[in-house]
Structures are given as C-alpha cells and as structure tokens.
Amino acid sequence: MAEFEFTEDLDDLRAMVRKFCAEFSPEPVVRATMETEAGYDAELWRRLGTELGVLGLAVDEEFGGAGAGLVAQAVAVEEMGAALVCGPVVGTLALAIPLLSAAGDDATRRAYLPDLVDGGRTATVAAPLTGGTFDAAAVTVAAKAEGDGWKAEGDGWVVSGRVEFVPDGAAADLLLVAARTDHGVALFAVDAAADGVRREPLATLDLTRRQAVVEFSGAPARLIAGEKRALAALAHAARVGAVLLAAEQVGGGRAMLDRTVEHVTGRYQFGRPLGSFQAVKHRCADMLVAVEQARSAAYHGAWALQDGTDDPQLAASIAKAVASEAYTRVAAAAIQLHGGIGFTWEHPAHLYFKRATADSLTLGTVAQHVDLVAGIALDRD
C-alpha cells in the first residue's frame, strides 16, 4: 500500500469507528465518564476491543490482532480522538501494545497481547518517555533478581522505585516497567494488583486523560526483555506512541474545525453570519491548513513506521511536532471563534482544548520534538 493511499478498507474502518463513537460515546457519555473516578468505561473499552476490534489493528493475528498495520490503527485512533473517547489510549493502545509487540518473545506476546487487544485488560508503561524518546539515563526503578543474573523465565525479580506521570497509571491492570539491573536497563511486567505497588492518581487538566504516580517497593516482576531488546522496543514504543497521538490530534483538530464552521455558519451578528466576516473566515482557513498539514505529517509517520520508508525517529517527531502545534492552535481558535460560549463548561470546546494541551505535553513537547528533528535533519555531518 503506497503512502497516502487510503484504501476502501481504511475508509470503511474509519466510518465504522466514527459511527460507533457517535452512538456509544457521544458528548454526554464523555462528560459522564470523565467525571467518574476511573475516568473511563471498562465496558466501552472492551467493546472497542471485541466488537470493533480496533485496539490491535497493528498487532499480528497470531497474537490476537488484526494484522492490518499501523496506518489502520492510526485511522481508528483519529476517530476516537475526534470523539474524545475516554480510555487508556495512551497507556494501552499507544504504548503498551507496541512495546509488548516489539519487546516480548512469542510466549510473552501470546501471554499478554490477546487480553489487551480484546480490551479485557489494560496496561501502561512506567518508563521515562516524557521527553519524546526513551531516556535510559532517567530510569528511576531498580530491579533485583531473587536468583542470579538473567533468567529465561521472567519470574523471580522484584522492582522498586517511583515513576511520575504514568499515563493511565491508576486504572491499568498491567504495568510494563523499565528498570535498572546489574546488566543494564531491562523491561519487566508487573501486575498492578500485586503487593508492593502503590498508585496515586493525579488530578489532570484533561479529565478524559488520566495519569498517576506509580511506586514500586519490592513488587514482584517478570522479565520481558533484556537490555538490548528493551532499549530498542522502548524507543520503538515512544515513536509509535507519538504517531498515534498525532493521529488523535488530527481527529480532535478536525472535530473542532467542523464544530467551528458549523457555529460561524449558523450564528448571526451585525445581520450576517459570523462566517461571512473575513477575519473569521480566514481564521477558519488557517485552522483547515493546520489540520491538513497535521494529517499529512501524522499519516506519513504511520506509513513510515509501518513500511520502514523513512527514518523512524524523524518520521515520528515530524508527526508529533506538527500535529501538537496544529491541535493546540486549532482548539484555541475554536474557543475564540465561539466567543463567550466557547469559554463555558457546557460547550465542548474546552474538552478539546484540554486534550490538545495534554497531548502536546505527553510523549514529548513540540520543543523536544523540534530538537529531535534538528538532530537528524540539521546536525548531520
């Protein structure tokens, strides 16, 4: 499938997810869900996994996925983003699933992926990914083997340490933890319900997007990957996560643009529709430009990671930098063009604005991705 060839299959997938979200996660459901303690509806998540099958689109069929590739996953995430679906999109979909897919051996993948793909369980990653890449030097968890050295089987390890800003950290069933060992940084799986795991939910700006501090004190852990594979897989997960978040940003931006166009078309001031004023029209045009550029960048990222057609870090950072900037600008413009009403709690604009803000601060800020891009595109030779 050539880059930017949106096949009929992809169009159908998009239509299906959009319809599902409109029916089962309309704005009142989002608002009700975001006010709950968990911040998401486990049943809705399960239906996304089983009924729709959109949580493992990029996962091989062998491990319960659809084997449809990252582009398909991006399409689904875009639509979920447009509807602000509450759920562990960052923790499970954007990070844990790609991480397990890349880091685990077949047995591990068979053990964990099907449940995550079905939506029956959720997972997240407790690792320093906030800078836009995996920062091994910032790992704050230490792992100790109860036996000696590496083990083929993952049992017999305990982990200790504190990780801040873990996406979906309070609700996840499974925690994938980067931890320092005597043989370098390795990746472990920890049951969130185990002894020695303490989670402290954080109050988030975006109520639809939760975070937690996770503290391990001698929690039992299963080794998933030793240093070499762990580092590569964590780097990979950061990139896939960036690309999927970019797709979500495209969806949210598009939703705000549509909403704004509708508003300024129907609302009259000075005897004319607001949208007939050039200042309003041009700002809408700028929103359109931003969304379209973000769409190009995000899907280039998805195709590049899927087909290996570009430097993966560059492609991921292009996607995330462009889409973050676009979404925050578009959401801010949406508030402005709605006037006072856009500033109220009742209007959905703020939900998108907060999501845009949270997204832009998750898995690397614009400045951090710009720096990564500069490192690849400018600093060479």
């Binding site: 906030t130 801040e164 800003f165 954080l202 109050a203 988030t204 700006l205 975006d206 109520l207 997007r209 975070q211 129907g266 609302r267 009259y268 001031q269 000075f270 005897g271 004319r272 529709p273 004023f277 200042a279 309003v280 925050t328 801010a332 508030i335 402005q336 006037g339 006072g340 009403i341 856009g342 500033f343 109220t344 709690w345 009742e346 604009a349 703020h350 604005f353 907060k354 803000t357 949270a358 832009s360 601060l361 998750t362 800020t365 614009v366 400045a367 720096d371």
Partner: protein, 392 residues
C-alpha cells in the same frame, strides 16, 4: 478649580489621619473619603467630588494607598469604572446622591447588564425588551457575562424599547434593582471549573421611569459615554516592569533552573520584550491622557495584553512539561478565578482574555476604523429596523 495637587494630598492626609485605613473598616473609610470629595475629584461637590481636574486624582489615591487603604477601584469595580460617571451625568441629583455614596463605600455593589447570548460582539443587536407601563417599564430578557451579579444590589441595564427603528436607535439605559421580583441570577461555570460570571434572567421586572438614565432611545449614546470613562481612567493604573502575566513567567523561570534551555530562554526574552513594549505603551498613553490627548493606546493595550497573556501562559505550561497537564481541581464552590492561583488555571483563564471586554477581532476593527479611519465594512444592519435584521 483652583485646587492643586498639594491641597488634594493634604485633604487626603486629613482623611487617613482621622480614619486610619489599617484600623477603620473600608465602608467607613471610603465614606469619609467620599464626604470630603476625594472619590472622584472631578465630580460635583456633594457627590463625592470637588469639581477639580481629574488629573489630580492620582495625588489623592497615592496618599490613600500608601496609608494602607484600598485601591479605590477595587472597592466596587464596575461601579467606579463604568457606572459612577454615567450616574453623575444622567441621573437627577437626588438619585445620584442616593446611589453614589454606597457605591463609593462598597456597601452596594454594581454590575452591568449589557451582553446577551444572542448578541455577542454585536452589543447593539441585543434583544432584551423594555415596555413602558405608566410610570414604569417592564423588562424581559436574558443577559450574560455579568460579573458580580450575585453580589450586586444594582445594575446598569441596556434594553430595547423600540424594535421598529434601526438597532442603535431603539435602546434605552436603565438602573435595575437586582432585588426586584423577576430577577434571577445563575452562575455560569467556565472552562476553569469556576464561575466568575453569571447569566441573569429578567422576567417582567419592573423599573421606575425615574431610574432611566438619558432619553428613551438614547441608550447607545449613554453606554458609549461609559466606555469613554473607562478609557479615561487608564491613567490611574500603575504598571511595573515584570508584573502581570510576564511576572508569573519570570517567577516560574527562576524556580525551574533545570528547564533553562537556550531556546526557552530566548522565547521568554521575546515575551518579556513584548510585555515591556506593551507596558511602555501604556505609560506613554498615561502621559498623553494626563494632557487630555487620547491615542490608540488603550485599544492597543487590550489587544496586545490579552494575546500576550495567552502566549505567556502557553510558555509557562510548556515549561512545566508533563506537570503542565495536571490541574489542582475542577471541583469548586464556583468561586471566581481572580487572585493567586496555578499556572494551569491562569492558562485556561487566559483563553477568555481575547473575548471578554471586546474581542480581538472587534478591537482590530476599532483600530482600523476609528484610529486609522479606514472605510467601514459593508453594513446591511445599520439602517433597517432591528426587527428585520437577520439573526441566528
């Protein structure tokens, strides 16, 4: 008219000596202040003034504030800045006396019932109706974006008294008693979680004709005179370098040395420069205002200041990194967003800056049409009866 700054300061010192601001309750202090005529020096004697030039006001206020008294404007924000001048200009002396003293002392707060959900920037397109009934008017409609309505006793109100003439010509200006039957105030929750503004519903609210300010059908002109009072009061304000939003950013910067990248430093320096250029423009405007010269600086100040505040808090939230995505709490007693608070809340609150009190779009129109004298946009609503203007 022969009073000078020294005499004003002496009068002010007398008041703060006889009513030590740190010991006497504000209403009592500000009552004495009013009775001496120091509240609005340019108002008539007996109505809180001394018929003196308004340029002397700073001399009086400085004494008050240095002695620990309040910045007078903060006692009754809308009352001081918007209402008082209109009352003194349009109300009969007896009513003015009745209203102004408790306004000045803060015992009776005032708010402004102008904006409507259906009108937005097109204030003159408002739909709240006032129908005459003998010596009274009966008012029906809905107002919005009213700050302080839940605490206020009085409101100035703009209502449509004639829908059959062009929109600017059918408005009349009233004083409404918010304790009157038929007034319902509902707090309006904002995206910050708090409620700083209110919706106000008016159902068959009766207002005596005596509480009308200005002639029937002249409400627009009356409200415009109010706006120019607001502009005139610019000169009373104090701005210091590195305060306001940029001050917040500087404080954050100082507290986060680990976030000091050259790129962030440059971004903050550019924000600082914009804030400083803005501050200097206000300072320049003050000097002009003191000489009675009003340039475009007030509109520029609002336009630039509001957009700048958004950029400054965007910078702050990005500097916070992942922490920027946290929020203290949306649960609230529906209190307001003023006063010290978190960067994240200020970031959210700043989104309203370019909407409230004149959107940036309207301000650019004002600069273009009133300052640069550019030709007006094609208008289809100005000369037809309000009733026939297309509306959403």
């Amino acid at each position: 008219m022969s009073i000078d700054a020294e005499e004003v300061a002496a009068l002010a010192r007398d008041v703060v000596r006889s009513h030590p601001p740190r010991a006497v309750p504000v209403p009592q202090l500000m009552g004495a202040w009013y009775d001496v005529g120091l509240t609005w020096l340019h108002f008539p004697v007996g109505l809180g003034g001394l018929d003196a030039p308004r340029t002397l006001q700073r001399a009086a206020n400085r004494v008050l504030i240095e002695a620990g008294g309040p910045e007078p404007r903060t006692v009754n924000t809308v009352g001081y800045g918007i209402v008082a001048g209109t009352i003194v200009r349009y109300a009969p002396r007896e009513l003015a006396a009745r209203w102004l003293r408790p306004l000045a002392t803060g015992e009776e707060l005032w708010c402004q019932l102008f904006s409507e959900p259906g009108a937005g920037s097109d204030l003159a397109g408002l739909a709240t109706r006032a129908v005459r009934d003998g010596d009274e008017w009966v008012v029906n409609g809905q107002k919005v974006w009213t700050s302080l309505a839940h605490l206020s006793r009085w409101a100035v109100l703009l209502a449509r008294t004639d829908p059959d003439v062009p929109k600017h010509k059918g408005l009349t200006y009233f004083v409404a008693d918010l304790h009157a039957p038929g007034v319902r105030v509902r707090p309006l929750r904002q995206l910050t979680g708090r409620a700083q503004f209110n919706e106000v519903f008016l159902d068959d609210v009766r207002i005596p004709d005596a509480h009308r300010l200005g002639d029937v059908g002249r409400g627009w002109q009356v409200s415009m005179s109010t706006l120019s009072d607001e502009r005139l009061s610019l000169g009373d304000r104090v701005t210091a370098r590195g305060t306001g939003p940029i001050g917040d950013a500087l404080a954050l910067w100082a507290s986060r040395p680990r976030a000091h990248t050259p790129v962030a430093r440059e971004r903050l320096a550019r924000l600082w420069l914009r804030a400083e250029a803005q501050r200097l423009t206000v300072e320049r405007a003050k000097v002009g205002a003191a000489k009675g010269v009003f340039g475009p600086e007030a509109a520029i100040a609002k336009l630039v200041g509001s957009e700048l505040s958004q950029h400054v808090y965007e910078f702050c939230v990005e500097l916070l990194g992942p922490e920027g995505a946290l929020y203290e709490s949306y649960d609230s007693d529906l209190g307001d967003d003023e006063g010290p608070t978190t960067y994240q809340r200020k970031y959210l609150r700043s989104r309203a800056a370019t909407i409230e009190g004149g959107t940036s779009e309207i301000l650019r129109n004002v600069l273009g049409e009133r300052v640069l004298k550019l030709p007006p946009d094609t208008r289809t609503d100005k000369d037809i009866p309000w009733r026939d203007v297309p509306r959403s």
